[in-house]
Each structure stands twice: as structure tokens, then as C-alpha cells.
Amino acid sequence: MQPLTSRAKAVDRKPMNLWERMYIPAIAKGMSITFGHMFKKKPTVNYPEKQRPFSPVFRGLHVLNRDEQGRERCTACGLCAVACPAEAITMEAAERLPGEENLYREEKYAAKYEINMLRCIFCGLCEEACPKDAIYLSETFAPSNYTRKGFIYGKEELLIPNPVTQPEEFAKAKG
């Protein structure tokens, strides 16, 4: 049969000669290999202290965006919830009252906005569906938790810090 690649090698089944049967040279060779590995660079990343950088297109934890005056952009239109293939997003809309113009950009806003991080598949379709640039996928992932309840993120967890009152935190969250 024609060999498929040029790398094929016939197995050597000759009986071992005395030198090979002593095994000591082979063992010495093996031990020099293991010893050489002691000084090799280790590929391990010391995780909590050092973190591998995410790629800029990484789709991680969601962020609810604010505009430059610190008003929430979300108008609770529900397009993200419709687009979500995992049905992880629920929301309740409310009407903006007079005097709340500094909190919400338009006259309707999301009173409740929840994403179940256990259901979410981080596909980014909500981000694409949003007409108001209100939801983004950031470069972090959901930290571990002891209960399922802990994975249902509400507005407190999702909203980005206010750029007017908390500029430092905003810059940090923006990355």
C-alpha cells in the first residue's frame, strides 16, 4: 500500500542488542530530557495575580450604558429581550415623571431590567438589537456565586457608574 504521507516509519522489531538491553543509556537519555524540562519556561498563568488580556471583541458580562450626562439610555423597548435566543432578559417599563429628566434620557425607561447569567449564552445579539446603544457586552465574565439567585443580575449590577458623579468608576468600567 502506498503510504499517505512521507512521515510513515516502519516499526523496528529487531531484537535489542546488548547495549540496548542494558537500558542504562536509555534511562540516562530519558532523565536528561526530564531534567531539561526543569528550566523550561512555564506556560502557566498565575491566574488571580496575573490575567490573560481579553481580545477587544470578547463578549462578556453585560453593561447598561449611560449617555455623557449620566442618563440611562435604555427605553425598555424590549428588542433585546426579543432578540435573545436564550430568553435570559426580562424587563419592566415605566414612564418618566417630571423632574427625572436628569436620570433617564427619554420619557420611558426600564424600571426593572434583569439578565439571568446562567441562561445567557453571551452571543451578543442584544447588543446588536439595541437601537439606543444602551446594552454592551464588556470584557469581563460573571464571577462565581453560591446561589442561582446570585446569577440574576439586576440594574444595580448592570448599570455603568455615572460619568458625572463617579468619573473614576466610570472610566474603570469603560475600560
Binding site: I27, M31, T34, F35, H37, M38, K42, T44
Partner: protein
């Protein structure tokens, strides 16, 4: 009556008791850090980092491991033979510790007007004592495996026992060639001879190699760890053990490694002799005590190199199959040791 009591050297007794205490705690400490070292060496050889969370560089890892073992539930199987089940690990530990009694750790200290020997007992049959105690080591494994009342443990124990007995033979034969040269069974005398002349590894390279291989087998270390072959026998002879009884078995292995390294260094690598230096001249320069400290350091460096070698071999060579093990022991090592013995004897006769 009163006179005989007074005539007894009570200070000597105290001296020896303190020495025993020190040596036992040092061997336990070394065994502790051998577990850490083993994991580190294994990790480095596999391009990993090894334990590095508990303390800097994972230096507190053995304490964490020990604490974990202490916290575990102590299980004694209902069908086991209760007394022997408890006796097994104790015996393993005892025999591991007992060998250290005849190893000279240094020449002697001169303190408070006394020459304090750094050897617990300079018996003139030191090597025979070591062999006696080492062959007792089989009982720890055998009793543990049998008392567990478990097929796998029993199989492992029998395998371990037959392995240790087979390799003891070759070990003894390789030592005979050495004893022909030394003419003494006392470890102290053997070290003193090496201080003046050559290290015996130069005169007995083959004997040393055989002794080394047999020491691996006696310690149940990896190319010969048939008695705890995890993938064949679940865990081997200590499968039914938990908590600190398991810890004792694992610890005994590391103590064994330490002591057999010490014995190998003493018999073939000059023991506490400082290499490339004339120790007697050094005593004239610096006095007895600093040199004695240096000698302890020198012996420990040799021991550490051997311990590293043990680990290095463990993470390089795969385990022997049972028939290969027996063939190596009976058909290779024993004839080699016999030939070595004959050659040494002929050489000594020829030299006169």
C-alpha cells in the same frame, strides 16, 4: 547498688536522648518537606509551577496537607483485623525511623569538656543492623495489606513483600563486595576510611549502582512501586486507610527515602566527609565544632542530592511490570552482584 547507679554515665544517656529527639524531628521535618519537594520537582519536570498558594513558593503546603490528613475521618473497616490494622502504619513508621540509629551524622562535637558523638549508636555490626531493620519494613506493608481484608490491598502487600525480599538479596550481595574492601561493618569506620582514602563509589561503581537500584525497590519508589500501583490495585496496601494512618504510611515512605539516602551517602559517598578538603587539617585550623557543623551540612547536601535523584527517577521512568521486576531482580541484579563480589575478591587477593 548505689555505686553501680552512680558509675553509670547519666550524661551520656541524656546526650543520646537529645540526639535521638533531634534526629527524629529532623527526619520528620525532612520527610515533610520532601512531600513539598516532590510536588515541586514533579511540577517543574512537567512544565508546571507546583504548589505555590500556601505561603511563599508553597512553603506551608506540607502543614496544610498534614492538617487535612488530621481532619479526615478515621475509618477502621468492620471486617478488618482491628489490632493489626492499627499496628501496620505504626510499624512502617517505626522501622523507617529505626535505621537512623547507626548513621553517623557528623564526627563529633566538643562541648562542655565532652566529646559528643553525632551517632546514636556506633554498633560494630551497623550494616547488619540496617539490613535487619529494613527487612522488618516488609511487615508494615504486609500487616497493613492483610489486616485491611481487601483483595486489592492483599495483592499489593504480597507483591510489595516479594519485591522487597527479592531486592534485599541483591542489595546484600552488593554490600558484601564493599565490606571486603572496608573490612568493617561499622558505618563510622567506613566513613573514616573514606575520609583518608577514596570514596567507595570510585572503587565499587557497579556495587553502588546495584545498591541504588535496590534502595529504590526497598523504598517502593516509582520504577518499583508495585505495591501501590494506583491503576492496577486502586491504591495498593493502604487503600482502606484514611486520616493520619494513611499519613503515616505515606510519611514512612518519605522517611525511608531520607534514611536510605543517608545510608547511600555514608557507604559510598564519604558520609559526613567534606569533599575535596582534608577534614583533619581543617580541624587544626578552625577547631572541632565548626568543622563538625560543616560535616553535618556536607552530609545533608549529599542526602538532598540523593533525594532529588529519587524524585527525578520517579518522574522519568515508568513502573515495571511484575515479571520484568522479578527478572531484573533475580536474573540481572543478583548475577551482577555475585560477579562484582567475585571480581572484588579476586582483586583483593591479587593485590595481596
Amino acid at each position: 547498688m548505689h555505686l553501680t547507679l552512680l558509675a553509670f554515665d547519666w550524661v551520656l544517656l541524656l546526650e543520646k536522648a537529645v540526639l535521638i529527639l533531634i534526629i527524629i524531628s529532623v527526619s520528620l521535618l525532612v520527610a515533610m518537606y520532601e512531600t513539598w519537594g516532590e510536588r515541586k520537582v514533579a511540577a517543574f519536570m512537567q512544565d508546571r509551577r507546583g504548589p505555590n498558594r500556601a505561603g511563599p513558593g508553597g512553603i506551608l503546603q506540607p502543614l496544610a496537607d498534614g492538617l487535612k490528613l488530621f481532619m479526615k475521618e478515621e475509618i477502621i473497616p468492620l471486617t478488618s483485623s482491628r489490632f493489626l490494622f492499627v499496628l501496620g502504619p505504626g510499624l512502617a513508621m517505626l522501622t523507617a525511623m529505626m535505621t537512623s540509629a547507626v548513621v553517623p551524622w557528623s564526627s563529633h562535637f566538643h562541648l562542655w569538656g565532652r566529646d559528643i558523638s553525632m551517632q546514636i549508636a556506633d554498633v560494630n555490626i551497623g550494616i547488619l543492623y540496617i539490613f535487619g531493620v529494613v527487612s522488618m519494613g516488609v511487615y508494615g506493608i504486609m500487616i497493613g495489606g492483610w489486616a485491611s481484608n481487601n483483595k486489592f490491598s492483599l495483592l499489593a502487600a504480597i507483591r510489595g513483600a516479594s519485591q522487597i525480599i527479592s531486592y534485599e538479596l541483591a542489595m546484600g550481595l552488593s554490600i558484601i563486595a564493599l565490606l571486603m574492601i572496608t573490612g568493617s561493618l561499622s558505618l563510622k569506620t567506613i566513613v573514616e576510611q573514606q575520609q583518608v582514602g577514596h570514596y567507595y563509589v570510585l572503587l565499587q561503581p557497579l556495587g553502588f549502582l546495584i545498591f541504588l537500584i535496590c534502595a529504590f525497590a526497598e523504598c517502593n519508589r516509582t520504577p518499583f512501586d508495585l505495591s501501590e500501583a494506583e491503576n492496577e490495585l486502586n491504591f495498593g496496601y493502604h487503600q482502606e486507610y484514611s486520616s493520619m494512618k494513611l499519613g503515616f504510611y505515606l510519611f514512612a515512605e518519605y522517611v525511608n527515602m531520607f534514611i536510605s539516602s543517608a545510608v547511600m551517602a555514608t557507604l559510598y559517598w564519604g558520609g559526613y566527609d567534606i569533599p575535596f578538603v582534608n577534614d583533619a587539617a581543617l580541624v587544626g585550623h578552625w577547631g572541632q565544632n565548626p568543622v563538625a557543623v560543616l560535616q553535618v551540612v556536607s552530609l545533608f547536601v549529599k542526602i538532598l542530592i540523593f533525594i532529588f535523584f529519587f524524585m527525578w527517577v520517579r518522574w522519568t521512568i515508568p513502573r515495571f511490570r511484575y515479571d520484568q521486576l522479578m527478572r531484573l531482580g533475580w536474573k540481572v541484579l543478583i548475577p551482577l552482584a555475585l560477579a562484582n563480589m567475585l571480581a572484588t575478591g579476586a582483586f583483593i587477593l591479587w593485590k595481596g
